[in-house]
């Protein structure tokens, strides 16, 4: 017996140096307020890239741009050879099926059980048998150390559990690219280390390309192949963990050494802001 109608899909071993995501000269703004300035970034297939920076440095805005949730004011983002700023809706939908996103708070739908939340992408985008979907969901719950929590509602989970359930949903379709926003935020140290290990295992077993946005140094140093440091909307350094640690740029060193940044104040502008509209 043989299956003659099967596709002749050949396994393509991606080259280690194959660039999967390319960000070119990206500017992004909220109204008049410019957030990202001339971002240049590339992510290789199977790489874990950590985007680091303090609060307000533009990390989340960069993530939103990479997900196609925000249109840049200048520049372009190429993912898997597609310009996400110009592709049509259908192509974007197809691309999104190869991407998983784990949001900071889990972002589960509160009206559905944890299991149904995780099953949702499979039910929407595949015609898999319900028994296969059910086993896939339990496999991911096991992986996230959430076995037995399938029937609970999101409101019954702790913050760490919500995060892991969100990750389970993000990887349920074994995405080619995983975006992970602040994996360690709000987690106890042990859970945080476990999550880091899980990220490394996912990459190893599934050859996933993973982009992590974080300001947690320990986590970044554990999982990153390369780190891009954002400061005030600009990438001030991209490099391996060793290169980042050895970087003598004051803005990078301050982040690594947890040194508060010195805010330069223009006296006149400051006074003007404080007194604008006042008599």
């Amino acid at each position: 017996m043989s299956d003659n109608q099967t596709q002749s899909k050949t396994a393509q071993e991606p080259s280690k140096d194959q660039v999967l995501i390319q960000v070119n000269q990206l500017d992004s703004a909220y109204g008049e307020r410019k957030i990202l300035k001339g971002i240049e970034l590339s992510v290789k297939q199977g790489e874990i890239l950590v985007i680091m920076g303090g609060s307000g440095s533009g990390k989340s805005t960069l993530l939103k741009n990479m997900l196609g949730l925000m249109q840049p004011t200048r520049g372009e983002i190429i993912i898997d050879k597609m310009n996400i700023n110009t592709v049509d809706k259908q192509q974007m939908l197809k691309l999104r099926r190869t991407m998983g996103v784990a949001f900071q708070g889990g972002a589960l739908l509160s009206s559905m059980s944890v299991g149904d939340n995780i099953k949702l992408p499979l039910r929407q985008h595949t015609d898999l048998d319900e028994s296969t979907i059910s086993i896939m969901t339990r496999l991911k719950l096991e992986l996230m150390n959430l076995a037995g929590f399938e029937d609970l509602m999101p409101s019954e989970l702790s913050g760490g559990m919500l995060k892991r359930a969100g990750l389970a949903r993000a990887v349920i379709m074994d995405p080619k690219i995983l975006f992970f926003d602040e994996p360690s935020a709000g987690l106890d140290p042990v859970t945080s280390v476990e999550l880091d290990q899980l990220i490394l295992e996912l990459r190893k077993a599934m050859n996933m390309t993973i982009i992590v946005v974080t300001h947690e140094l320990e986590s970044a140093f554990t999982i990153a192949d390369r780190i891009a440091v954002l400061y005030d909307g600009e990438i001030v350094k991209t490099g391996t963990v060793e290169e980042i640690k050895a970087c003598d740029d004051e803005r990078v060193a301050n982040l690594i050494n947890r040194k508060p940044r010195e805010v330069q104040i223009d006296g006149e502008k400051y006074l003007s802001r404080l007194t604008e509209g006042a008599e």
Binding site: T126, T132, L202, K204, A205, M206
Partner: protein, 107 residues
Amino acid sequence: MSFECSDHLNYKVLHLTGEVDLSNSSKVRRCLLDILDNGQSVIVDFSDLTYIDSSGMATLVEGLNAANKKKLTLAIANANGAPLQVLELTRLNQVFNLIASVEDIKE
């Protein structure tokens, strides 16, 4: 992805080639469940399998469960590289009967 079946002793050997993923795991599932429904034990041969995703793994789990219920055997032969890593990641290497080669199956 392609697959073909052959016989070895009193087992069916399901030889998978290429990548098993969301787009084709349903075909593997039908074939696997058909073999078990016919009352035959099965060896899934991974020697030419380059990738298997969680839908493929779930299919094998479903097959193993069906085999156990029918008191049949489902074994995996020649698991190496990425497919073995997926088995290890999901800890299913502790669930399946993994054998080094099809010839290593015990009657």
